[in-house]
Amino acid sequence: MATKPIVRVQCDDFDQAAEIRDLVASNHDIGAIATFIGLCRSEGESLSALELEHYPGMAESQMENCASAACERWPIDKMLVIHRYGVIQPGEQIVLVVAASRHRDAAFDGARYVMDFLKTDAPFWKKEHRSDGAAGQWVDARDSDETAKERWK
């Protein structure tokens, strides 16, 4: 049976070292861990923060769908996905994906797959807070995020 991923949506920051330690503590046949962390950018100091809005319930279920699909496709032993919401400042962490497996290919591919699908399917939206105090815009979706999924066809 495929691994059941752990998915969390939270306002608080996360500690990747502690999360990884807890995730793999019970399994000593894991030989590879691939981690992705997404950070908030300042866009050349023009932004003071990003405000992340989400659709509670559907955000979790879509993250779980992406992560479960990865666990069915590759032999992944442990999978963790955390996504934050609220006001996040440049340099702070937004998203964490940890994929753990016996060997590296499944871990690398699984983590990348989850991010590619989470980007377009999980209901989160970013609004810019500008450093100069002007009204911030909602971030536009990128076409490249849609095409990134094509590699998994």
Binding site: Y55, M58, S61, T120, A122, P123, K126, W138, A141
Partner: protein, 88 residues
């Protein structure tokens, strides 16, 4: 009748333009598909016209599942309307 009402949720700039987080709505006769719902919403008032000016880009979820515009609405208890997602 209250049991015929459906909860509609708005997110991101759609929420800001319509000025509502969510509302209970009686679905008008003749609104059977997602595309028809978007046309109806667009015609409600100026704020909705601004929010749904380009209906083709709007994403719709029926009971928290992504739906195509051609899809039948069915009888969901919750409909969410939002722009393309920008998480991660």
């Amino acid at each position: 009748m209250a049991e015929d009402k459906v909860k509609i949720l708005y997110f991101s700039w759609i929420r800001e333009r319509v000025g509502l987080n969510d509302e209970l709505v009686s679905m008008p006769d003749g609104v059977k598909t997602v595309a028809q719902l978007l046309v109806w919403l667009q015609g409600r008032n100026e704020q909705f016209a601004a929010a749904f000016e380009f209906p083709e880009i709007i994403r719709v979820a029926l009971d928290q599942e992504h739906a195509d515009h051609a899809q039948d609405l069915g009888k969901p208890s919750e409909i969410a309307l939002f722009p393309p997602m920008t998480g991660g």
